[in-house]
């Protein structure tokens, strides 16, 4: 699509010596960190990319793509999607370049489903205004400062109106609602839709993955949701601290051991790893769902870290957890 295969290959080999602009090199250096150690991203890293000439919107989009392919990489690795002959990749590349990722009729149908009516005011239980605590601004300040649109912009306004705490992840959703509405619905179906894994166990996988990725923000909210859905905070804490010594059943321990591998070096997963966890009693559907949840939180963790969504006081995370447990991921 860039019309230059050699240039693409040079970037993949080593962006530092590739024939690209200095600004592009700075962007890839930033993305390398988003990919591998997003929990160590600081304001200075974002400022450096900005100085190279990138707007906050460009960085928001670049982070989104990098984080999303951390989803896809794990999804493919852990389910065992095999390498294709070269012709297969050429055809896929052509299809993606010409048709994209979803077919237009499906998009229209989705929009009808997504916007049957605008979300009603007061449909979301607002957190009670507590003692005033302010968070550091996000790294992507324009994302936080722009008014945004859609259901999350409404929620931000409602929350401000009662002086309540605004979780900064709302700004990430409100910035590009035409895109993130689909993300909300995907997350909702995955976390609450039909599955052999209970919603509580799915939340626990989300919290566990986030903990492995050092994402305190996500781990705190989803641990709170898991505790509410599973009915025990001690159980959840035990799993997050040391799943091997926790009160998980032997089958669950096998599943969480597998999830650890999916979050870590997923490219090393072999058929034998999957057979082993299957022998613990999990169906392919259960494994598919667990892998998908884990992969999605590898997306969210990087999105949150690199944009500078800060961890909140614990009571705010409790409010988030309660909202997730009771209302899920779509604000309606």
């Amino acid at each position: 699509m860039l019309g230059d295969t050699a240039k693409v290959q040079a970037v993949l080999n080593d962006y530092r010596t590739a024939p690209i602009t200095e600004a592009e090199k700075a962007l890839f250096e930033f993305l390398d960190k988003v990919n591998r150690q997003s929990h160590q991203i600081r304001q200075a890293d974002v400022d450096e990319a900005r100085r190279a000439g990138w707007t906050d919107e460009a960085l928001y989009d670049a982070i989104g793509v990098c984080a999303q392919f951390n989803y896809y990489n794990r999804w493919v690795d852990a389910t065992g999607v095999q390498d294709m002959p070269a012709i297969g990749y050429q055809m896929s590349g052509h299809r993606l370049a010409t048709e994209g990722y979803a077919r237009p009729p499906a998009l229209d149908a989705a929009n009808d489903r997504l916007h049957p009516e605008s979300p009603g005011a007061g449909c979301y239980e607002l957190p009670s205004p507590g003692k005033k605590t302010t968070l550091e601004p996000m790294f992507l300040r324009d994302v936080e400062e722009r008014e945004g649109g859609g259901q999350y912009a409404d929620l931000i306004r409602q929350t401000h109106a009662v002086g309540g705490p605004v979780s900064q992840i709302f700004y990430l959703f409100a910035f590009k609602p035409a895109m993130t509405d689909h993300l909300s619905y995907f997350t909702q179906e995955l976390m609450r839709g039909p599955s052999p894994l209970s919603p509580g166990l799915r939340e626990l996988i989300a919290a566990f993955t986030s903990r492995l990725n050092h994402c305190r923000y996500c781990a705190s909210s989803h641990a709170a949701a898991a505790a509410l859905l599973l009915g025990s905070r001690e159980f959840v804490q035990g799993v997050l601290e040391n799943h091997r010594a926790s009160a998980l059943s032997p089958a669950e321990k096998a599943l969480f051991g597998f999830i650890e591998k999916v979050t870590g070096p997923s490219w090393e997963i072999r058929r034998g790893d999957v057979d082993q966890v299957r022998q613990a009693g999990w169906s392919d559907e259960a494994l598919y769902d667990a892998i998908t949840v884990c992969a999605l939180f590898n997306f969210y963790n990087r999105w949150v870290h690199a944009a500078g969504v800060h961890v909140m006081p614990q009571e705010w995370h409790e409010v988030s957890g309660k909202r997730l447990a009771e209302r899920g991921y779509v604000l309606r």
Partner: protein, 83 residues
């Protein structure tokens, strides 16, 4: 091609509404990208994923679609080559 690790997922995808399309591709000697089985297995979930990905990769952005594809390829190549 070898089946994916989650063999039931592949089997059910081939038995579902997308099955005829997969069979036609195979009959024409076109390799079926196995990721399509992952999409076909739970369309209620993955339809939203496709639309999200479409907006992310092709929607309005200061980054050209080609640049976004390059970021995707860069990320993926990094994740298959551990340091």
């Amino acid at each position: 091609m070898k089946p994916i690790f989650l063999t039931d997922v592949e089997r059910q995808a081939k038995a579902g509404p997308m099955g005829a399309q997969f069979a036609a591709m195979e009959a024409a000697g076109v390799p079926v990208p196995q990721i399509l089985y992952l999409f076909a297995f739970k369309p209620r979930v993955t339809d939203h994923l496709s639309r999200y990905t479409q907006e992310l990769m092709r929607g309005p952005s200061p980054l050209a679609p080609g640049m976004r594809e390059l970021i995707a390829a860069f990320t993926s190549s990094r994740n298959q080559c551990p340091f």
